[in-house]
Symmetry: C2
Subunit: 331 residues, 2 copies
DNA sequence: CTGTTAGCGCCTTCAC
DNA sequence: GTGAAGGCGCTAACAG
């Protein structure tokens, strides 16, 4: 195995460990050319690689951040991860990705594990259920950035879609097109922030646009059960349009539609928050409200690395990203 | 910050560090109930959390593995990662995911970084370009498992799709349906193994089934340029069926098809290696050869953790997974 | 310019 | 049953 240590290099090159350390950390201002070359050769000869665990222990910095997503199977998460990675990579930071599955227990466990591992900071899609934990991180001044969701009562920088705007775009577009009985469907879990906000805005807009005020038009259930709910919904209410809360919900709705020979948009109009790879390929092409996932991921990474480097805190910790309306033909 | 160390707990509880260490590692066979309780309280009181960097340094094990995928934007990668994560999580292992982007330089950099970080093992989708590096890992007996691709000359456990079978399924199905001019399109890069194997099998089958023997029917280009190639292909050859090598290639082909009002399967038949979320939703539903991504990811994780735990090496290091033929209506 | 000396936080014999 | 001591590999003053 790679048991070559700094001490080995030192003896091989005939200098002391600290000189090697200097060299490795590129602090060769005060180093003679000759020793520099000797060290270089020794390193090559021995195939030495510094042990970053040891360095981390000493420096109290691991050059690694943790990312806890709700579910990596969402296209949104994937894209966000990708852009966080790209950004971090360019700054020589590493990323550890974890799936909390919107499970508070898993989230807690991961946050603990990651902190035990001394990661320098965390980007998390919070479940919202571990308030004490979040608070503790605030109190101890641990670098954290929330993504996709925020916890209103907590002063933690958050990178978010402007959900109010997204729902507004969807509802207003549908209303303009003449739809009157609009339903909102997602698979989001309960306490999660965007769902709450989306529901709030949806209700407000229902009043403004004189849509039916009826909780029955708002359904959120776990993936795999949405189809069933949709069946019940269509059987009981004169729904003529649906807003899908994300890609996974959209997929379920589309499957139902297919199985029941529903014609879009004639029998049912559809609009989705989150674009999907096949949005323009579907028949009819899907009208969609896209999230700028790459930009959001990058922003979160920038914020976090900024905090880690001790940049001054901004007063306004909420970064709202505007949704992008893509009109196609499903409503 | 969380500066509470073992020493703090020790003084607080009135015992020595080593006793705390015993406790933390659950070796309380020879510990009095009273000290056990005192320690427990001290830990809770001080909110102590063991520093795993320090532990790793001492124990030479980080309980972390690295995964280097070719591109996280492939659905296949996502699913594989997900299942690796699930498996590792259940064994209290962490996963660091990196995107090599099929870029040998990036791959090398990541392998180095990960090893410097002392990860206990690696699962990699090898680019195939860093032979010396791979060899060095073999030589130093570093736990590695290859996924999706293998390097024929290297004795490294590899988890693979049975590509021969996959191509065979595709070609034979198309031949049965009466197609005579079949093209193979992927965005895979050059030296990558599955591409080579697929091409080889494709050529063999071309002979067997008396299809045109013509390199022009085999195209692999970067994502974003496949559409262009497809245009050229259709202009120059009487292609009546295409095999898409993966989801991203499929998407490009589908976009081209849409833009040019090509009717599937009448004008052009299509079959894809890799299922996609919208496979059954597309019009017509897409006939597909699926990879068992979750099973493959799990297998790779099992193999790697097995190696890490020093399980005896198996003689046969190739794990071939059978593709699943899903007949729908695109050919 | 380079070496010496302390640790970083934890684990592990081996005494007591 | 518990403590003392040494060391994992590296860094950071401070000497020289």
């Amino acid at each position: 195995m790679n048991k070559v240590t700094m001490a080995d290099v030192a003896t091989y090159a005939g200098v002391s460990k600290s000189t090697i350390s200097q060299y490795v950390n590129k602090r060769y201002k005060f180093m003679s050319e000759s020793t520099k070359i000797r060290i270089e050769e020794a390193i090559k000869e021995l195939n030495y690689r510094p042990n970053s665990v040891a360095r981390s222990l000493k420096q109290k910095s691991t050059f690694t951040i943790g990312v806890i997503v709700s579910n990596i199977l969402h296209a949104f998460s994937t894209q966000v991860i990708r852009s966080i990675e790209d950004y971090c990579h360019s700054l020589d930071f590493h990323v550890i990705v974890c799936n909390a599955d919107d499970n508070p227990k898993k989230e807690e466990r991961y946050i603990q594990m990651l902190r035990d591992k001394q990661v320098d900071g965390l980007i998390v899609f919070p479940t919202g259920e571990n308030l004490e934990l979040y608070e503790e991180m605030v109190k101890t001044n641990y670098p954290v950035v929330f993504l996709d969701r925020r916890i209103p009562e907590l002063p933690i920088s958050s990178v978010l879609l402007d959900n109010e705007q997204a729902v507004k775009m969807a509802v207003e577009h549908l209303v303009e097109k003449g739809y009157k009985n609009i339903a909102l469907m997602t698979n989001a879990i309960h306490r999660v922030y965007p769902r709450q906000e989306r529901v709030r805005v949806f209700k407000e807009l229902s009043i403004v646009h004189q849509l039916p005020i009826d909780e029955g038009y708002i359904v959120s259930r776990e993936i795999g059960q949405l189809k069933e709910s949709l069946g019940a919904l269509l059987a009981n209410k004169p729904v003529d349009a649906i807003i899908a809360g994300n890609d996974l919900a959209l997929l379920e709705i589309l499957n139902y539609v297919k199985e029941h020979d529903i014609e879009i948009p004639k029998d049912l109009a559809l609009i989705s928050i989150d674009d999907v790879s096949f949005g323009n390929l579907y028949n009819p092409p899907l009208t969609v409200i896209a999230q700028p996932a790459f930009e959001m991921g990058k922003k979160a990474a920038e914020l976090l690395l900024g905090k880690i480097n001790g940049d001054l805190e901004e007063k306004e910790p909420i970064y709202l990203f505007q949704p992008v309306f893509i009109e196609r033909a499903s409503c």
